[in-house]
């Protein structure tokens, strides 16, 4: 046995392989659960029953669907580019798997003297890797649309690519304030910086009632969401647009583009796109939890030390997955020009402004507490956001054609 371990590079390598295998299998199971949860929640919100035949509560429905898709006819359109057509779904799925590599999903555990971190790879450029893996996903979409040799996939693909790269800028910019306050690109270090409770809140000192309230702040977790909520909102909007989910699901706008870049795909190849999309949702949710909601941090009893962080992580991520489904059930799809307007003319200036605010606030910590400065700038930011968010004059005229006829716009 020992010579096998030595052959592949020692116990650390064995641990790494085992960890990757477990995470990979868990991600597949998680994906099955997320699809099932989405269908049940959507059904519930629309007063339907949803899948309830296969397994308890219909839990095995996704598995049945997967088996069905794999046994479906494997066809290739006549004009399709053979290898690119087959490679695109592989790229989409692999990119989604890779992005999860830098998500810390729990604390550490020691088994037989070996310390095992609950993160696949604690890269010192973790956030950059997350963004890079997301960018590779665009290749899957663009190649799928181009290689299909059909009109609707091509239109869907250029649309999807333009949308994804536009919101990628806002996504990248929304993470910079987090890097500014944490001083690290490592996701593990960012989670560690959010451990414990809010400390040193001094800006209520001297105010009679509030001062007595402020001692309860030791029960408030030290998450970045309190000071970085504008960055969180931008991250969330851009993240939803990156995953092509409602209300940003224009790439597969079925009412105008059939199914967008996936039109000519079926069977197992479609399954790969499907897998990639839902994994992407899980990864973006996990990243939102990691960066803004303290990651796996949470109150834990003394027994089973490593289970609680994992449970907290899954619970918080689950809430975000629920939010994704909720948005899909609630919001109508955006028009394409509105989408571009939001991404280029609102999210990019807003995130640049917030970077400036965070940078100025963090320059000198001697005079005022960081919380106080960030709070004050948050109010300023809210004022600007309201002004900025008043909307596009074109939209107002579009809503009311009468006003345009009157010449009042």
């Amino acid at each position: 046995m020992n010579w096998v371990i030595d052959l592949i590079g020692g116990p650390q390598t064995v641990i790494a392989i085992a960890k990757v295998l477990i995470v990979f299998a868990s991600l597949l199971v998680l994906m099955i659960l997320v699809v099932w949860a989405e269908r049940r929640i959507l059904a519930d919100m629309q007063a339907r029953i949803g899948p309830n035949r296969w397994g308890p509560f219909g839990l095995l429905q996704t598995l049945a669907d997967g088996i069905k898709l794999i046994t479906k006819e494997d066809f290739r359109p006549q004009l399709a580019d053979r290898w690119t057509y087959a490679a695109a779904p592989v790229i989409a799925a692999v990119a989604s798997f890779l992005a999860f590599a830098v998500v810390p999903f729990g604390d550490e555990v020691t088994i037989a003297g070996h310390r095992i971190d609950f993160i696949l790879s604690d890269l010192n450029i973790g956030l950059l890797f997350f963004l890079a893996a997301g960018s590779i996903g665009v290749y899957g979409v663009a190649l799928a649309g181009w290689s299909s040799g059909s009109k609707y996939p091509l239109l869907g693909a250029v649309r999807a690519s333009a949308q994804m790269i536009s919101y990628e800028i806002a996504l990248g910019l929304s993470l910079i304030p987090i890097v500014l306050v944490s001083g690290s690109l490592s996701t593990k270090a960012i989670v560690a910086a959010q451990a414990g409770s809010v400390q040193n809140v001094t800006f209520f000192d001297g105010i009679p009632v509030l001062e007595s309230i402020s001692r309860y702040f030791e029960y408030v977790p030290n998450w970045y969401i309190w000071s970085q909520w504008p960055a969180f909102l931008i991250f969330l909007i851009a993240g939803i647009a990156e995953t092509n989910r409602a209300p940003f699901d224009l790439p597969e706008a079925e009412s105008e583009l059939v199914a967008g870049y996936m039109t000519e795909y079926g069977g197992a190849k479609f399954l790969m796109f499907f897998l990639g999309e839902y994994l992407h949702i899980v990864t973006v949710s996990a990243m939102a939890v990691t960066l803004f909601f303290g990651g796996w941090n949470g109150p834990a009893p003394d027994f089973l030390g490593w289970v609680w962080p994992l449970a907290w992580f899954l619970f918080k991520t689950g809430l975000f997955v629920y939010l994704f489904v909720w948005l899909r059930a609630t919001l109508p799809r955006l028009r394409y020009d509105r989408l571009m307007w939001l991404g280029w003319k609102r999210l990019i200036p807003a995130s640049l402004l917030w970077i400036a605010v965070t940078a100025v606030v963090n320059i000198d910590n001697a005079q005022l507490s960081r919380n106080w400065k960030l709070g004050a700038f948050g109010v300023m930011f809210a004022v600007v956001m309201v002004w900025v968010g008043k909307g596009d004059p074109r939209l107002r005229s579009a809503v009311s054609p009468q006003r345009r006829l009157d010449g009042t716009t």
Binding site: G9, G10, A16, I17, K19, L21, V23, F24, L69, I70, T71, E73, D74, F75, R76, P77, Q78, L79, A86, P89, V90, F97, L98, A101, L120, S121, L123, L127, F129, W146, G149, S150, K151, Y152, P153, L154, L155, V158, R159, A162, I165, E168, I169, G172, L173, V179, G183, T263, E264, G267, A268, K269, Y336, W344, L352, A356, A359, V360, N362, I363
Partner: protein, 123 residues
């Protein structure tokens, strides 16, 4: 021995690629194959495609190219800000001013692009 940080990622890359390729290969083996010319024709909602070989390779609005060009400019800006943000605690006021100059120049281009209407999608 410390483990190379990218080894788990390499394993994950190999594993997920193998999984995806194996699934597609498996599906092509176990699934039926009854191809007909109508089935393999480009999907056009039932209408017979008329563009011949050019279908699916046709031209699309130039605006998408414009978005791609603008993306490159702003994405480089984003990439440049990451090392700056990591080293901000050491750079202090110097870093703030330097980044202010950089963003200022970029903002001028941004305003120019906006005023020229490159960010307008609908007429």
């Amino acid at each position: 021995m410390t483990l190379p940080a990218y080894l788990p990622i390499l394993i994950l890359l190999v594993l997920s690629t193998g999984f995806a390729v194996f699934s597609l290969w498996m599906a092509s083996k176990i699934s039926p194959r009854r191809w007909t010319p109508a089935k393999l024709a480009p999907y056009e909602c039932g209408i017979t495609p008329e563009d011949g070989e050019e279908v699916g390779r046709e031209r699309f609005p130039v605006k998408f190219y414009l978005v791609a060009m603008l993306f490159i400019v702003f994405d480089i800006e984003t990439a440049f800000m990451y090392p700056w943000a990591v080293a901000y605690d050491e750079l202090k006021l110097f870093g703030l001013i330097e980044m202010g100059v950089f963003i200022g120049i970029l903002l001028a281009a941004y305003v120019y692009v906006w005023k020229r209407g490159a960010l307008e999608w609908a007429e």
